[in-house]
């Protein structure tokens, strides 16, 4: 972010008795770290759980095709 756009952002926010340039970045850094971690964790949980489900479905389909008599005893 350029200095000009950072200045205009700080101008919109309450000036915090002159400490705005320290208070707002502190909350922004915290938000950035926490939201970043949350999004990364959400994405990897969704992706891994979907992939595990696909693999298991594929294996179930494969074992049903090769061992039709044992399909009823599914593990």
């Amino acid at each position: 972010m350029s200095d000009a756009s950072l200045d205009s952002l700080l101008a919109v926010l309450p000036d915090m008795g002159g400490y705005g340039a320290y208070v707002w970045p502190a909350f922004a850094i915290a938000a950035l770290v926490l939201i970043g971690l949350l999004v990364q964790s959400l994405v990897s949980a969704r992706r891994n759980e979907a992939e595990a489900a696909t693999l298991r479905a594929e294996r179930a389909a494969a074992s049903a095709a090769t061992e039709p008599r044992e399909a009823g005893h599914g593990a």
Binding site: P14, M16, G17, G18, Y19, Y22, V23, P25, A26, F27, I29, A30, V33, L34, L37, L38, S41, L42, S44, A45, R47, N48, E49, E51, A52, L55, R56, R59
Partner: protein, 251 residues
């Protein structure tokens, strides 16, 4: 399960070692933790940023405290929980304990980074320096490196169980740093102020400032619970993928 009666505590614990049982519990807890986090975060931010008074010495810069202090609490709490989990992993070989430590480390590192960065942003206007090598700041920096070391060690081996074991030993050895951080402000001369909430003689901070602080603390704890469950779910699924791939390649 074939466990004898005298192993009762271990037996109850191993019930939760079953990922299916853990996943059911996790899915039940997750929405409640999320709602608690959102409510406390909203109330804490409103009180902390707007409705609480400015400090008579620090002015409005005191508002940095409402994110700095809860983040520092969490940095210590998460590390302590990782050390306890690592103990359970090494002594009882509890498989979910390793999973917890691996999932918690990046979140703990995040909280430590927030505590360091926000402390720096407060230090500049109040102390006139972004950073000083005093006992509290230095020991928290060491905590940050312990988290990074834990993450690196967990992923350093081809065989995940060896990485988990090495990381568990690091977590236990590094735990000595936790009381050092907590009591550094009492043991040594330091610029950092002593605690005003977690004291034996009760908080010395005004209720108008204590409330937003506690609300943010609850919000951060709820956040940790939500994200650590998500990361454990991701890891359980990743292990399942590995096992399924392996059995496909083998069979």
């Amino acid at each position: 399960m074939g466990l004898k009666d005298r192993n009762r505590p271990a037996a109850t614990m191993h019930r939760y070692a079953n990922p299916a049982r853990f996943l059911r519990l996790a899915r039940a807890v997750q929405p409640w933790a999320a709602v608690l986090t959102i409510i406390c975060l909203g109330a804490g931010l409103y009180l902390g940023l707007f409705a609480s008074p400015a400090d008579y010495q620090q002015g409005e810069s005191v508002r940095i405290m409402y994110v700095h202090v809860p983040a520092a609490w969490m940095a210590l709490f998460v590390y302590t929980s990782m050390a306890a989990a690592s103990f359970a992993a090494l002594v009882w070989k509890h498989p979910l304990a390793d999973l917890f430590a691996k999932a918690a480390a990046p979140i703990g590192a995040g909280f430590t980074l927030i505590a360091l960065a926000t402390g720096s942003l407060w230090g500049k206007p109040m102390w006139g320096a972004w950073w000083v090598w005093d006992s509290r700041l230095t020991s928290v920096l060491v905590l940050f490196f312990l988290y990074l070391g834990h993450i690196a060690l967990t992923n350093a081996f081809d065989e995940p169980t060896r990485g988990a074991r090495a990381a568990a030993i690091l977590a236990l050895v590094g735990f000595v740093n936790v009381p050092i951080i907590k009591f550094s402000v009492d043991w040594w001369n330091t610029l950092h102020q002593p605690s005003s909430v977690l004291r034996l003689d009760g908080p010395t901070i005004d209720p108008s400032m204590l409330w937003p602080l506690l609300l943010m603390g609850v919000a951060f704890t709820g956040y940790f619970l939500c994200v650590v469950i998500l990361r454990m779910r991701a890891e359980i699924a990743a292990r399942r993928i590995r096992a399924l791939r392996y059995s496909r390649a083998a069979g």
